[in-house]
Amino acid sequence: MEQQTGTFAVKKGLAQMLKGGVIMDVVTPEHAKIAEDAGACAVMALERVPADIRAQGGVARMSDPELILRIMDAVTIPVMAKCRIGHFVEAQILEAIGVDYIDESEVLTPADEANHINKHLFKVPFVCGCRNLGEALRRIGEGAAMIRTKGEAGTGDVVEAVRHARTVLGDIRRLTTMADEELMAFAKELGAPYELVKETKELGRMPVVNFAAGGVATPADAALMMQLGVDGVFVGSGIFKSGDPAKRAAAIVKAVTHYQDASILAEVSKNLGEPMVGRNVSQMPEAEKIAGRGW
């Protein structure tokens, strides 16, 4: 009875275990413990949360492997880490230290402005960002086993997360009503692999798990994304840039489980202290937006 590792089923399978959960950005082992105790289903290990990456500018790279390893030691839940778009050596390093998922992320400065990583070559699974169905299916075509809508990271403004989730889910709804002979033209319009377009139509959903990200700051934001139809939520700067991270983290976890129960949502939204100071995406110069990174 031979055991096979690194198959697409086990890569995609871990994302399926994260469904209905919250994945939190953490920058220290102490943050990771707070996230785990609050009920996070995974953490994203980083040197700086997106709001600080924005504020400090410069080139944002993969985090120090030592920091990631310390976070991996601190918790029993899965640990994710980010590499730059197209930077397959950063990905090799993250795989070598044993992270559970790699986020090939637009939050870091891209290393390749034409190509993403060939993710089929890795045993470790990848999650990638998208703004529409075409971008999502291109990433899956490259081997991504999980997708997240991008939103606009580090802003605390949920408007882009909503735009991207509505676009992806709307594209899927449109696709499911199409006749089979229209699929090739739609694949061409999306810039997506035909086979994956066909599979998405047959499934009536994205072929892999799809989380929301980028601007979720409150329990209501998280439940909004769930009601729109995503499988779970990433929260980046929204927790540890707020007044009471432990309380807000626990409240967002509860909001994702009970996303359809307004009385529970009201209860968990009480007395959370100061939310992160947001930035309106509509007043942000184009050059400062990061969701456009990714090809």
Binding site: Q4, D100, V256
Partner: protein, 192 residues
Amino acid sequence: MKIGVLAIQGDFAEHIAMLKRLNVEAVEVRLPEHLKGLDGLIIPGGESTTIGKLATDYGLMEPLRQFGQRHAVWGTCAGAIFMSKDASRNQPLLNLMDIKVERNAFGRQVDSFEADLDIPELKQVTGTKDAFHAVFIRAPIIESVNGDAKILASVADGRIVAAQQVHLLATSFHPELTNDTRFHEYFLSLAD
């Protein structure tokens, strides 16, 4: 027959899809009152710490224990950990099954794997001959079974990955991630 699937966190939708394929009514369970009128319950894969925390916060621990006294309950992966008496770590457990588990016993995600398992009871109940293709994701093992609990399946090196205690079932792997409905049929035979 009406089966509940604990829908706090994890792959509950996959279990519900399997039950629907078998023409069984399946409902999501998030609060104690959702257990009313159920003939059995599945606790899905996910993160056992998340599931345990929210089950505690929403008053589900005692109702779940009582439900398991009289009804069939099946835990997959995180669900198996949650049903155990001992997970070698301080976290909320249902203490329903007399088993000791070790979390992430095969290693991290890069060590997650697929393998064929020979499960005699499963073949007998479903009248089939084929091995069961099992998917293990950061899987726990069942270190020991005690009392009324019995071993149902092991991997090649002998480590226990499925156990049964009368009407209670624990598996380290995820039948809900495959197209093989036999394990769900086996569970339904316990719920009947």
